[in-house]
Each structure stands twice: as C-alpha cells, then as structure tokens.
C-alpha cells in the first residue's frame, strides 16, 4: 500500500485514526507492517502490500 492511503484509512470499528508501523518497505510501497487504532488499540496487519482491515470477528484465525 501507498502511505498516502493513510489519509482516508481508519479503524472499521470506531472510525478513529490509525498509527502506521512499517516493517518492510519497497520503494514507495509499504509491503508489511501494522495499522493500530489510536482509540481502541486494535491492530490491523499489512500483508504483502494489502491492509487487512477486516474487523477482528471476521478474520480467518477467529472461529466463525
């Protein structure tokens, strides 16, 4: 993802701003990292350049 996406990305739960932590960057693309909600503290991973903004109850690792 481009860092400019941060302008409109927010927490899907409470719509608060996110804090970006970059693990790996490739030119102007963020390849991996974490977006953390500044309000509720929920963490959303960036995996292979794509932010996983699924609410916690919809993530694959959570039993449905």
């Amino acid at each position: 993802m481009k860092e400019s996406m941060m302008d409109i990305l927010c927490c899907p739960m409470d719509k608060a701003d996110l804090e970006l932590e970059v693990d790996h960057e490739d030119e102007d693309e963020i390849v991996s990292g974490t977006l953390t909600c500044t309000e509720c503290g929920e963490a959303y991973p960036i995996e292979e350049g794509v932010p996983n903004m699924l609410p916690p109850d919809m993530r694959d690792d959570v039993p449905a």
């Binding site: 993802m1 481009k2 996406m5 302008d7 409109i8 990305l9 927010c10 927490c11 899907p12 739960m13 719509k15 693309e29 959303y44 292979e48 350049g49 794509v50 932010p51 996983n52 903004m53 699924l54 609410p55 919809m58 694959d60 449905a64």
Partner: protein, 264 residues
C-alpha cells in the same frame, strides 16, 4: 434467512466458488451489463472511486476502462476472491486493495466521490446498514451504485432465491435506499437477452452537495417532500433496530409487506 446471508458461510462459499467464479459469472453479469451500469454514473476526472466487494476484479476492470478513471480502491472480505484480482492488477498498482467488511468500512467520512458495488449486496446480512455506511463514506452529492440480483418472477425461482440469498425488486430497493437516507434513487433492470431482467442496478446520491442546492427549487415542487428530505436523518431508524430480520422476512413471506418495518 438465505444460507449465504452469514458472512462466515459466504466466506467459506467463496473459498471454493472463487476457483470457477469468473467462468460462471458472465451468465448473470457480463461486460455489456457492466458497461451499461457504468454509464449510469457521472464519473469526473479525479473522482475517488471505491469498489465494495470487488471480488475477482471484474467490475474494477470495467471502471478502470473509463476515460476518467486512473485508479480505483477495491475492498473485499474474501482473500480467495482477492487473489484472482491480485493476479489481474498486481497487489499494488492502479487498484488500492483492502480486505474489509462492507458494513464496517475502514474509511474516514466523506472519503469517496463514488461507491460501486456489484454482486455483493446479496451477501450483506443487513443491507440498510451497509448502505448507511456507504452514505457516511461518500461525500455529500456523491453517487452510490449497487448491482444485485433482481427478485425472480416465477414461484420456483423465488423459492430457490429465498433459500440461497437476498434478492430484491425495485420497490424493495427503493425502501432500502430511502431508509439509508439516500436520494434520487433510480433503477434499471439488466441482463443478457435470454434473461433480460436478472440483475437490478440502483444509483442514488448522498444528500447535500452543490448540485442539489442549485436544483432544489426547480426539481422539488412539493414542499412536503422537500421537508421530509430535509429531515432525512429522522426517518432513519437507529442502528439498534433489528433490521437483519428484513432478509428473513423476505425468505418466509410471500409478498413485499413487512409488518415489523412499518414503524414510522
């Protein structure tokens, strides 16, 4: 309730359906229908567009073909569907991908000029809530387009439809869009020649914006109607209302009347 109106089930379904989705999809939603639907939108240069439920990227591709569109934001809940879209556009490039939920969008208020969503509404447990979320994320005066399956006319197909997922007709679409506080709601039935009304495409505008202010006196001769519009948010039921029943009502009922919805 249809068996797919549960996100976990829809996810599981798509895990397998994504293998063949683009092969079977053209039977209900083809390039001609896509072009016709895109033509219902007023797309300006630099408009920021979000494709909700972009799936394998069929509509995203059509949108990118529009002369005024250089990039599209794509959101889907299914990593398996998205893999197909990644193969078409790359993980990074003209499409800004996000995994996410249509009813709980990870975008700030007034972020987009246009939301497009085709072939997704039938899986939303609460369509009105998703449409309200669209209204929040789209700027005042912006446009929302939704393509969904038109409610079949024959009884046998109705039973099939009710068992599988949400289908709706024009009246039901009007109700959902109005309840979500959207305006200028227009519909068009679309389909291939052998089944010309298999899909229903609805376009609406988010209240507010310069266009509406300019055209209000000429286009809204009935003061009562304008008054209702102005107080639009009052007509909107709070989120706590048990709207998920709506889809269930459709499944069990034989007509469009939904008694528990007629509260105001």
């Amino acid at each position: 309730m249809g068996i797919l109106e549960n996100k976990a089930r829809a996810r599981l379904f798509y895990k397998y359906l994504s293998q063949v989705y683009d092969k079977i999809n053209p039977f209900i939603w083809n390039e001609e229908m896509r072009t016709e639907a895109i033509g219902m939108l007023d797309i300006q240069a630099d408009d920021r567009i979000l494709d909700v439920g972009c799936g394998t990227g069929f509509a995203t591709e059509g949108l990118l073909g529009h002369e005024n569109v250089d990039e599209v934001w794509g959101l889907d809940q299914s990593p398996h569907q998205l893999e197909k879209a990644f193969a078409k556009f790359g993980r990074t490039g003209p499409v800004h991908f996000n995994m996410g939920d249509a009813e709980r969008l990870p975008f700030a208020t007034d972020s987009f000029d246009i939301i497009w969503s085709s072939g997704s509404i039938e899986y939303w447990p609460n369509p009105v809530r998703a449409l309200r979320e669209f209204r929040r994320v789209v700027k005042p005066g912006g446009q929302i387009l939704v393509v969904g399956p038109n409610y079949p006319k024959t009884t046998i197909m109705q039973k099939v439809a009710d068992a599988i997922m949400l289908f709706y007709d024009e009246a039901e679409a009007d109700r959902m869009f109005n309840e979500a506080g959207l305006e200028d709601v227009r519909h068009r039935l679309m389909g291939p020649s052998y089944d010309p009304d298999v899909a229903i495409t609805t376009v609406a505008r988010v209240p507010g914006g310069e266009d509406e202010v300019a055209s209000t006196p000429a286009e809204e001769p009935e003061p009562d109607m304008a008054g209702d519009r102005g107080a639009g948010s009052d007509n909107v039921e709070p989120d706590e209302e048990p709207e998920p029943d709506m889809a269930g009502d459709r499944g069990a009922g034989s007509d469009n009347v939904e008694p528990d919805e007629a509260t105001d």
